[in-house]
C-alpha cells in the first residue's frame, strides 16, 4: 500500500468513524458533556491535519487590479480582497458584468455570487428555495465545530428558537438599556487620552461592545473581554471564511466558552431557584421559554446559539464604530456637515452601516432548480449573497463609494439582511451607534486618523483591527 492510499484509507476510516459519531451524536448528544465533544473534535482535526499534511490553507499574495483578471477567474471568496483594498473594484466588475456569477473552483468549493441589491432581496426573501442550512458562511467549520445556530436553520425550527431570544431586543428592553449604554459610553470616552494617538478599535469599539455583550448575557462584568475573545475565534475559522484563527486556539477557546457559558446558565438557574427576580438578559429569556428551557441538554445547539448571539453583537457593531470614524476621515466635508447639524446622526448611522457593511455576505443553498436573473441555478448549488456589493449597487445608491450622511435612501441598505433572518439586533446596533456619536460630538472637535488602518483577514468579516487616531478636545465642553 502506498503512502497515498494508506492515508486515504485512514482518512476514509476516520470519516466513517466521524459520521457514526456524528449520527450517534444527533441521537445521544445530550449524553456527552460538551467538553468531551469538543476535545474529540480537536483530536479529530489534529489527526486529520497530520495525516493529510494540510496546514494553512491561505497565504497572502498581492492581488492584481480587477481589470487585469478575466471575469471567469474572479474569486470573491479571496480573504485578502478587503484587506488589500481591492474588494470594491472586484465587486463592481462582477456586479456590472456578471451580476449572478459562477465560480467553479475555490478553496470553499464552487459557488454563485449574487451581487445586485434586487437579486439579493429575491434570494434572501425566499427561504423555501434558498435554504440557510447547514451554514451561513461560505465554507465549513472544522468537523464537530459545526454547532447548531438558528441563523443557519430554516423555518419552522428557526422561528421557534429565534422567538425565544427576540425579546431581549424588544422595545421595553431597549428603553431600559438606553440609559445604561449612554453612561458606559461616557465612561469610556471620558477616559480616552487626548495627548497622544491611540488605537480606536481596542479602546473604544471593542471596549464598548464587550460591555454591551456582558450586559445582554448578564455575564461577569470583569471577565467581559472573554466574550470578545470567543467571538473572534469562532468568527475567524480558516475553513469557514478564510479567517486566521489557529485551529488549536479555536478549540481551546470553544472549550473555554462551553465551560464559561454552561457555568453562566447553571448559575442563573440556581439564582432564579433561590428566588432572584427574572432579569432582561438572554439566559433568563432562554430559560423562561418552553422551546429553549432545556437548551443546555442539547450542548451543540446551546453553544451554537449563544456563540451566534455573541458574534452577532460583536464584530458587527465594533466594525461600524471603527468604520464610522474612518469614513468621516475619508470624507471630511461630511464631518463638517455633521458638526453643523447633529440631527443628522440617526441617518448617518444607517449610512455608516451601509458604507462599512460589517458582514460581507450570507450564504444559501438552492433546494430546487431555479432561475435567478437569467442564470440557471441547480438544486444543491451554493449561493453567496454579497451584501457588501448590494450596498454599493449603482442602481440603488448614487455615488455608492461615498459616505453621504444625509443620503435619502440610506435606510435601504442591505447590511442587516432581509426576510426571516433579518438581523435581530438591528435596533440595538443603531441605538449604540447613535449614542456613541451623540456623546462624541460635544466632546471632540476632531477625531483624526493618523495612520493607515489595518484590516482583518476574512471573506466574511469586514473588520478593522487597528485604527490609530488622535483626539482634539473641544475648547470648552458646553
Amino acid at each position: 500500500m502506498t503512502m497515498k492510499t494508506l492515508s486515504q484509507t485512514i482518512i476514509s476510516t476516520m470519516r466513517s468513524a466521524g459520521d457514526s459519531v456524528q449520527s450517534a451524536a444527533e441521537a445521544a448528544q445530550s449524553a456527552l458533556p460538551m467538553n468531551v465533544l469538543l476535545r474529540g473534535a480537536q483530536l479529530y482535526d489534529k489527526t486529520r491535519r497530520m495525516v493529510t499534511g494540510d496546514d494553512k490553507i491561505f497565504t497572502e499574495t498581492p492581488i492584481p487590479p480587477a481589470a487585469d483578471v478575466a471575469l471567469a477567474d474572479i474569486d470573491l471568496s479571496n480573504p485578502f480582497l478587503y484587506r488589500q483594498g481591492r474588494w470594491a473594484e472586484y465587486a463592481e466588475r462582477v456586479r456590472n458584468e456578471a451580476p449572478v456569477h459562477f465560480r467553479p473552483e475555490s478553496p470553499f468549493g464552487p459557488f454563485w455570487s449574487v451581487t445586485r441589491h434586487a437579486d439579493i432581496i429575491t434570494v434572501d426573501k425566499n427561504h423555501e428555495v434558498f435554504s440557510a442550512e447547514p451554514f451561513i458562511i461560505i465554507g465549513e467549520p472544522p468537523r464537530f465545530m459545526d454547532v447548531a445556530m438558528f441563523i443557519a436553520m430554516d423555518p419552522p425550527r428557526h422561528d421557534q428558537q429565534r422567538a425565544a431570544v427576540q425579546g431581549v431586543v424588544a422595545p421595553k428592553n431597549l428603553r431600559e438599556m438606553e440609559g445604561l449604554i449612554r453612561s458606559r459610553v461616557r465612561e469610556v470616552l471620558d477616559d480616552l487620552p487626548t495627548d497622544r494617538p491611540f488605537n480606536w478599535v481596542q479602546d473604544v469599539s471593542i471596549e464598548l461592545t464587550a460591555r454591551m455583550l456582558a450586559t445582554l448575557l448578564d455575564f461577569p462584568y470583569d471577565q467581559r473581554r472573554k466574550l470578545v475573545e470567543w467571538s473572534d475565534l469562532a468568527g475567524s475559522m480558516e475553513q469557514a471564511n478564510g479567517g486566521q484563527s489557529d485551529n488549536d486556539e479555536v478549540f481551546r477557546g470553544m472549550l473555554d466558552a462551553a465551560k464559561g457559558l454552561s457555568a453562566l446558565w447553571h448559575d442563573k438557574a440556581a439564582r432564579r431557584a433561590a428566588g432572584e427576580e427574572p432579569g432582561f438578559d438572554l439566559i433568563t429569556m432562554l430559560q423562561s421559554n418552553e422551546d429553549t428551557k432545556d437548551l443546555i441538554d442539547r450542548p451543540m445547539e446551546f453553544l451554537g446559539n449563544l456563540i451566534l448571539l455573541i458574534i452577532g453583537g460583536n464584530d458587527t457593531t465594533r466594525n461600524s464604530m471603527s468604520g464610522g470614524v474612518l469614513a468621516l476621515n475619508r470624507f471630511p466635508d461630511q464631518f463638517e456637515k455633521l458638526k453643523a447639524n447633529p440631527d443628522l446622526i440617526p441617518n448617518m448611522v444607517s449610512e455608516i452601516i451601509r458604507w462599512q457593511t460589517p458582514l460581507a455576505y450570507m450564504r444559501r443553498v438552492a433546494t430546487c432548480d431555479t432561475i435567478l436573473n437569467g442564470q440557471f441555478i441547480r438544486k444543491g448549488d451554493k449561493l453567496v449573497m454579497w451584501y457588501a456589493s448590494g450596498n454599493r449597487d449603482e442602481r440603488v445608491f448614487d455615488r455608492p463609494e461615498e459616505l453621504i450622511i444625509d443620503r435619502k435612501n440610506a435606510r435601504n441598505h442591505i447590511a442587516f439582511g432581509f426576510g426571516v433572518h433579518r438581523c435581530m439586533g438591528n435596533r440595538l446596533a443603531e441605538l449604540q451607534l447613535r449614542i456613541l456619536w451623540e456623546e462624541l460630538l460635544p466632546r471632540f472637535e476632531n477625531i483624526e486618523v493618523v495612520d493607515e488602518p489595518e484590516y482583518v483577514q476574512s471573506n466574511f468579516v469586514r473588520g478593522i483591527s487597528k485604527l490609530m487616531v488622535r483626539l482634539t478636545p473641544k475648547a470648552e465642553v458646553s
Binding site: 434572501d124 422567538a163 427576540q166 424588544a170 422595545p171 435601504n412 442587516f416 426571516v420 435596533r427
Partner: protein
C-alpha cells in the same frame, strides 16, 4: 378627498391623503409620517412598516397575509390586527381608515 390617519405611539394623529393603488407604506413615507421606515422598499422583507389596524376596520382592509406573517410572527410587539403597510394597497372604500404606528419598528 379621502384620507387615512396614522396614530403614533405618543398619540399624535397624522391625517394624510389616501391615494388609490399605492401602498399605505408609500403613502406614509411620502407624507413624512414618523415611525414608518420601509427599509426594504415594499418587499415585505424587513417588517419596518408594521402598523396595527383599528379592529373596526379589519373587515374592510383584511388581516395579515402569509407573506406578512413571515416578518410579523416573530415580532414581540405584534397585535392580532398587525399588518405590514407595504402589503396594503389603498382603495377608495378605505376613506377614514385609522391605524396605529407601534413605538418601534423592529
Amino acid at each position: 378627498m379621502s384620507s387615512v390617519t396614522f396614530v403614533t405611539h405618543e398619540g399624535e394623529s397624522h391625517e394624510v391623503p389616501l391615494d388609490d393603488d399605492r401602498s399605505l407604506m408609500q403613502i406614509a413615507v411620502d407624507n413624512g409620517v414618523p415611525g414608518i421606515d420601509g427599509d426594504c422598499g415594499g418587499e415585505a422583507a424587513c417588517g419596518t412598516c408594521h402598523i396595527v389596524v383599528d379592529p373596526a376596520w379589519t373587515d374592510t382592509v383584511g388581516m395579515s397575509t402569509e407573506v406578512e406573517e413571515e416578518m410579523l410572527a416573530m415580532n414581540p410587539e405584534r397585535h392580532p390586527t398587525s399588518r405590514l403597510a407595504c402589503q396594503m394597497t389603498a382603495a377608495e372604500k378605505w376613506d377614514g381608515l385609522v391605524v396605529q404606528v407601534p413605538e418601534f419598528q423592529m
